[in-house]
Amino acid sequence: MTEVIKSVVCPICGCLCDDIEVTVENNEIVKMKNGCSVCEAKMVHGYKSDERILKPMIRKDGELVPVSMDEAVHKAAQILTDAKYPLLFGWSSSTCEAQRIGVELAEELGSALDNCCSVCHGPSVMATQEIGIPSCTLGQIRHRADLIIYWACNPWTSHPRHLERYTSFTDGRFEGSEWKSYLEKLKGTQSKKKVEAASRRIIGGYEPAPPPQAYTVDAPPQTMQKAGRKLIVVDVRKTMTAEAADYFIQVQPNKDYEILDALRCLVVDQELDVDKVGGVPVEYLQEVADEMVNCEFGVIFFGLGLTQSAGRFRNVEVAIALTRDLNRKTKFVISPMRGHFNVTGANTVFAWQTGYPYAIDFSQGYPQYNPGEFTTIELLRRGDNDATLVISSDPGAHFPKPAMQNMMKHPLITINPDMNAISRLGDVVFPTQWCGIESEGTAYRMDHVPIMLRKVVEPPPGILDDEQLLKRILDEVRVIKAQNAEQEAKIEAVC
């Protein structure tokens, strides 16, 4: 039987595109419309790949051996209760409902609790706590923003439909799409290349004129003078997003703080006594500052280039301060480009349940928060934790080697739908349903809008979703703890 399901939500990146159309035949997705290539890779191919885990497994004599769900749940609960200080990490590709059970489990165990934002936008959360954040929903940006700035991010690859759905290439109520203007620019570049290639063939040894070194104040790029939405990209390297930009500023690595601070001076009409900041001539920064001040509604989207380079949360803090300064002259907002589809949800649920968004410690019986102390990488560096549960993420492929080597010194429990790098390393490996394909639940878009993920196919038999599985583990942990308490009471009575 063939069924076409509309308005499916894509469970991959923080964009949470909710206009995906999938064709389901015999409980299998065979076709997908509207999504990006990454969405197609997951929803049509990846979710049913050979790497799918179909049975729980326990490592015995160095090999992963399939076992019953009861045995795996008991083993995992035993590892977690035996450990003095387990770490529960991941959560960003789980539903909010599962994350809530995760907090309960962490409290029951007195463990550390952290999510993937620890290694992506954790510094953005810290900066927001320091200084606040002037922000809005992506819908407002789509309809009203006439200046889009992507700073230290490359949405064309990390959030492929961000430009198309929310910024430059979308038709909003008050601002139009710049898609045609981009195509014309692309056509112009292609024609230029063709002419140069033809000249080389005819003349032989023809050297095309070198490209202009950079734009000058007297001759800003023509695209900056156009009507309509403008797109500025600031990055350390030229990317596909930079190709689409009306103005691209290339900065030196680790110099974002200086440039953002320089822009703060320029937007309040202060003069700079230097020619260059972070490798960028001040004249170019002046052009950007002018555009910022003169726009009706501007937005800065920033990525991991700010949070992972020197300065970390101070980079984000100064970017937010710049946005605050700009709001004295025009309307400006700022937003992080969140990666995993529900990393925003993980922050929200953890904050709602414990008061803190990530890097949480329950070892005292109540939640404590201190990034730099309870963040996962620090815990692993110090070797604090003596067991780890990883759910819906892959630190095996995304943590630095030294941190992972410390994690591997202790028992590792993994909960993932497929055999990713961390599942390959686990001692107890659980299968789970694909959220947003085989199970429904709530996820938060990067602008904190909650969206309901949809279930479009039935999961393989016997596989639980994250929430059900965590509840089973939590119940088993409580049973083991009660047994241990009973035994201790008996021993005390004898003594």
């Binding site: 290539s37 990454v38 890779a41 997951k42 191919h45 990846g46 790949s49 050979d50 790497e51 160095g62 620890s118 290694v119 954790g122 510094p123 490359n154 690859t157 990390s158 492929p160 350390v236 390297r237 030229k238 596909m240 930079a242 190709e243 290339q250 690595p253 680790n254 991991l304 280039g305 992972q308 380079s309 020197a310 970390r312 890097a359 990034p371 730099g372 963040t375 996962t376 990488i377 620090e378 692993l380 560096r381 892959d394 095996g396 492929a397 995304h398 943590f399 630095p400 080697k401 030294p402 941190a403 992972m404 080597q405 591997m408 497929d418 055999m419 990713n420 790098a421 390959r424 390393l425």
Partner: protein, 133 residues
């Protein structure tokens, strides 16, 4: 003149192919082909005397890894190399956080040298080598 080693700054990050590869499965050919890569500026490749698709060894103070060299697709960034997120990039990333929880993924010094006779390890081989599993 061909140089033996290139001193460069490493940036790790996403590419669309790596995104597709990771969703196809971490053991997939698509993931391997898109992640065990190192984008190098054309002028730097000339300095090292290497061509696109040849193997290079990238070394940081945290480790080294063999990956395939690829020409930087957009613009010119001499002295800057880019490795897509993944196991190969993380083999040379550091766990220093400067007290902020975030490890070193971008903007630190590495050395690149030609490694024509050394093979690129697959995901399973790399996991075995690094973690013994």
């Amino acid at each position: 003149m061909v140089e033996q080693k290139l001193h460069a700054i490493l940036i790790t990050g996403r590419t669309i192919d790596q995104g597709v590869g990771k969703e196809m499965g971490k053991g997939s050919k698509e993931y391997f082909d898109s992640s065990a890569l190192c984008f190098i500026d054309e002028s730097d490749m000339k300095k090292l005397g290497i061509k696109s698709r040849s193997n290079v060894k990238v070394t940081s103070k945290y480790g080294s890894v063999i990956v395939k060299a690829a020409k930087n697709p957009y613009g010119s960034d001499p002295g800057l190399i880019f490795i897509p997120c993944g196991l190969w990039a993380n083999a040379i990333c550091g766990d220093e956080t400067f007290g902020m929880g975030m490890p070193l993924f971008k903007g630190f010094q590495v050395e690149v040298e030609p490694a024509p006779n050394q093979a690129i390890l697959t995901l399973d081989e790399l996991l075995k080598e690094e973690y013994g599993r």
